[in-house]
């Protein structure tokens, strides 16, 4: 069995498990699963930017928040989740496009700082523009509106189980799309830019435009993840725009593996599992997460994903043992 076949089987199994989850699990595991899926989408976008294009952004929370706030504002007025999601994603995409056009003028640390500044700019807007964002108290009492477009209500999502399936479907689609994207000419070119900007430029590719494309897609993914949040939490508050939220996808990706496509997804899972498990035994879970980060950065920069990747490689033909370097 080839690595890709095996991978396909694993994905199928995982997807099936997720579909069946509500039948076996209680409401909290479902809630947790939704949190994981949302972070997975968020981190997938982030990793297109970091793992594939080589740009470490500390401002992704800004776009996450734009998605969340816009979706929330819509849900508070129009009872249509669809509209909320679309609106949130669109707003986040546009914001990313505009701020990205400025950000991609830099790379490396300056890019990181610039994105940090923009992210925190959005945070300060969420915090201070009280009339719209509710200020520090945020937007609360957000209804879990029916799915359909305005006018045609469609299925109710009153129960968390139903909403779970919305989140699941959206997340699966997001994964598939990203999977195709990284294996497309665009994906290959972005990886080329990561490894050698000048070389790509001298093949006739406008590097900055491609960086902007990656940045915008990452922003759209962040916005999508954010837009899924209000209906789940019924509340949206400034901390989700704060840079420490930007760190979540970074940590997840680092845990799962920057160099592997499944890294962010795996990482999102690990992130919450670690958190949830450790929290049950001690309130001090951050110190453990921190320790894990230190160990990973020093010892296993490939993350758990790479470990598994090499494992996969061993299980299958050596030719497919290329876990390092996203494909």
């Amino acid at each position: 069995m080839s690595a890709t076949r095996l991978e396909a089987w694993l994905c199928g199994a995982a997807a099936l498990a997720l579909v069946l989850l509500p039948l076996v699990a209680g409401r909290y595991p479902i809630y947790l699963a939704m949190q994981i899926l949302i972070l997975a989408v968020f981190a997938l976008g982030f990793n297109l930017l970091f793992g594939y294009t080589g740009l470490l952004s500390f401002g992704q929370a800004g776009f996450f928040a734009v998605g969340a706030y816009v979706c929330a504002l819509i849900l508070l007025r129009v009872p249509s989740l669809l509209l909320g999601l679309v609106g949130g994603v669109a707003a986040a995409g546009v914001t990313a496009l505009v701020l990205g056009a400025l950000s991609v003028r830099h790379t490396r640390i300056y890019f990181s700082m610039l994105t940090l500044a923009f992210g925190m700019m959005l945070y300060s807007i969420a915090l201070r523009w009280r009339d719209v964002t509710g200020g520090d108290d945020g937007l609360v009492g957000i209804p879990r509106a029916p799915l359909g477009p305005p006018g045609i209500p469609g299925p109710s999502l009153a129960t968390i189980e139903r909403y779970y399936y919305v989140v699941l479907v959206v997340a699966l689609v997001a994964v598939v799309v990203m999977r195709r994207l990284v294996r497309s000419p665009l994906g290959l070119t972005l990886q080329g830019i990561r490894d050698s900007e000048s070389r790509v430029a001298f093949t006739g590719v406008p590097v900055r435009v491609y960086r902007l494309a990656a940045f915008t897609i990452a922003g759209v993914y962040a916005g999508l993840a954010g837009a899924l949040l209000p209906a789940l939490e019924n509340t949206v508050t400034p901390p989700i725009a704060h840079w420490s939220t930007s760190a979540d996808p970074v940590l997840a990706t680092l845990l799962g593996g920057i160099r592997a496509f499944w890294g962010p997804v795996l990482g999102a899972f690990l992130f919450f599992v670690i958190k949830d498990i450790i929290v049950r035994y001690t309130e001090y879970w951050l110190i453990w997460l921190g320790a894990i980060v230190v160990v990973l950065v020093l010892g296993f920069r490939g993350g758990v994903g790479a470990m598994l990747g090499t494992l996969l490689g061993r299980l299958t033909q050596p030719a497919s043992g290329r876990a390092e370097g996203p494909r």
Binding site: R180, P185, G187, T189, S196
Partner: protein, 252 residues
Amino acid sequence: MPELLRVEGLAKHFGALRAVDGVDLVLPEGRRTALIGPNGAGKTTLINLVTGGLPPDAGRVFLRGAEITRLPVHRRVRLGLTRSFQIMNIFPRATTLENLLIPVLARLRRTHRPWAGLGTERAAVAEAEALLVELGLAGFRDLPAAALSHGDQRLLELGIAVASQPALCFLDEPSAGLNPIERGTVMELIRRLSESRRTTFVIVEHDMDVVFSLADWIVVMNRGRVLAEGPPAEIRAHPEVRETYLGEELEA
């Protein structure tokens, strides 16, 4: 031979240093040119100015009569101007095939496609594979480029450069850090490529034997200026060139 590249009064200063100091140059199509000169003569800077890596302080650059002085790199490439690098510059994590796929896709204007799998880019893949054969790297198709030997990586970089099917291609010390045998292969490849394709090569090279055997025109630079240019024989005989540059070469 129709004019391919024209450079007029090109200049670039780094603080006090006049790296390139008023260079005029005309390159006709199909003439294999060697660009020589002692270290710091301004060869690499000149390439950077012409190919768009650096903005010039003064002067103008024309490709096939059209001015390209201020064009961004990728636009110049699309007009048929590209280069290779003195310091190895390939995509180490990508496979050998993918290394060539990027420039081919770029030439076919397909790099932006986000949806189609690479497998479906049949034309591009076929072309890249053909080039792999031409480079003699077909055996390493699916290996990460980093796994290739230094010499093979040089060949690959050369391949990346010609994969964009440029009209004019600057090769900045394509054999840097290679042993004589590997160097031979690279030069042989350059010769073959320049015959099999409509690409005019400008080569920066230190090995005079290579230069004189490969080039049918030689441009000598010194202190940011063009000291002399002409066919190998002429240059060999050129007194100034001899003393400032070739002298020690010949003694050596």
